[in-house]
Symmetry: D3
Subunit: 137 residues, 6 copies
């Protein structure tokens, strides 16, 4: 299988805090990630897609189109925002890497179909050492 991957970055604030936990539990579970003022990261999102290999153009997808989808659906919505308060489609979501990755994968489904590809893998890193990966069977 052949996939094409594109990476975009965005800088955002967030805070780990679950409304289903008491303040004490939030502290115990999330530690310094629960500090009320929040903290932030330079996030890197890599989206890997596949689809039919167009023999005329030699491409599965035009990376420029893929980039435009990621700018419109992700960067323009999350960059220089507070993930907990400023992003309509993250409202009510505990902004762990796991949850943000799942929400973004869902959000990208249709726009990726519209340019003729489907999501195979999504990597969301909040630093060079912490990452989640979502793989579709």
């Amino acid at each position: 299988m052949l996939t094409v991957s594109r990476t975009v970055c965005f800088s955002a604030a967030h805070r780990l805090h679950s409304p289903e936990l008491t303040d004490e539990q939030n502290c115990a579970v999330f530690g310094k990630c629960a500090t009320p003022g929040g903290h932030g990261h330079n996030y890197a999102l890599t989206v890997s897609v596949t689809g039919p290999h167009d023999l005329k153009t030699g491409m599965i997808v035009n990376v420029t189109l893929l980039h435009e989808v990621l700018l419109r659906e992700v960067v323009n919505e999350l960059d220089h925002r507070d993930l907990n308060t400023d992003v309509p489609f993250l409202r009510g979501v505990v902004t762990t890497m796991e949850n943000v990755a799942l929400v973004l994968a869902h959000r990208l489904e249709e726009p990726l179909a519209a340019i003729g590809v489907r999501l195979v893998r999504l990597d969301l890193a909040e630093s060079e050492r912490n990452k989640v990966t979502l793989e579709h069977a």
Copy 2:
């Protein structure tokens, strides 16, 4: 499964242009990648291989041998070349990442077999943000 990966780099010029498209179509599809003078990249190729784990040496493959194959078959042929005009085995190929990856995977098949391993995965990146991945079932 255990795989061994080795990365090599090469600097090459290329231009996206399909002989099956009109000039107008080439411009529409490939945008600035179709500029007649071409452009270029520092490409990074990572080859991941597997094979029997030799218990005496503790190795699946001697990375030095793997590196020699990649130097001979890839770097010596593509580094400081124009992929569209200077590489015999890319003649007639639209030099998208997808096509170059497929051609390189095919080209490496026998030399990798000759050192006792088979290709499991090939990553070809034309920048830190654009990449294709070819995975063998």
Copy 3:
């Protein structure tokens, strides 16, 4: 001149907003960096110091000691914090890279003297592409 450099990272939220400007002016000057909810970064701080070269140990400074100073004075104070609201020694400071660098250089002066070195250069990066550098004559 011989200098020793040590890099530490911290993840923090911040927002660019000057109390001496109207809301309109803040928006005009800082653009998306002024979004009320704030945003954040993985900051990288590199501190370069010099001092007498101890011929017995071969060192200008023990990097472990230097690291401890940076952990105590910088990382423990800024990591997983909101720079605008949670850090006593940044209170009232517009949290541009320039200002944060100046404040940190001042804050590190004495602790560095205490381990026998002086600050020659301080690099503060808020991303791989944005950085300030403070050099002492």
Copy 4:
């Protein structure tokens, strides 16, 4: 499938030398990696785990807990050590990347189960260009 990955680094010496080979064979097989004095690397270990997605916390695993396991089981044991002579659980092992990866995967099995996750993938890099990957079916 959703996985969480954490990377840790350690600096260690090692030497490739198999007791089942003669000195001559060791030289022939391992080349400069067999130099008696040994050499060393800044190793990077990335561990990818999965498990049930806790809907209250939004996490598969608390990265802090995962990090503590890696510090205790790997970094504290291997960092600033000679892999051939100083690490009890590597005694008698030819310290190729392949073997070290297999030993570490085995060693991490129980501690990872104890924090509720299982190992899906382990990447061990001895440099930016050389890596092994162990994937569990």
Copy 5:
């Protein structure tokens, strides 16, 4: 002294060839860099500037403005171009890193003055291992 640095990238083709040398001399001096078809790189340009520190905004320069200058004067002119043939202000210049750096520094002088800063240092890298640096006294 306090400087602000911004990095931009561009992918371009080039070829080292001096009209003042014979073909033989060009080959002898430039080796594989003189291949007629040319080759290419992902270039990284870092511009470091200084100026008065505005106490109201806390900034020496708004990085967004600095970025716009670099996009307009450098990236839009060089990205996805052949430096030898497609760039009016490089016509007749042997496109070594040294020469390109000098031309870019000269070209940026006025636009940087127009946003209130002056160039202190310019780094131009054609790969992670090759770089030139121009420093102004």
Copy 6:
């Protein structure tokens, strides 16, 4: 001033231990870096040189020549070696970054003069976070 920089890497073992200190003092000063078996790093050496700018070739120095000097004088001597025991010109030197940088700068003086340039700056990093820099006035 215009400088050209070239980076090379080498993997080596070393151990911090001063013959002028007792075992106890060595432990106190160097901590885990004094472990008898030693440890190791992937070192990165960046050499920055200047010289007359040749207007015919557009170069201060041919990077290929500079690279050959670094291979011959540094990489071939230090790569896959134990810096404490295997390198004649480091015998008796406590192998701190400071000392190794000073020895390498001295060693490179003549070979760099032979290709028409002089050393302006030398950076020796033993990891991404630890570095020494030697600057010539």
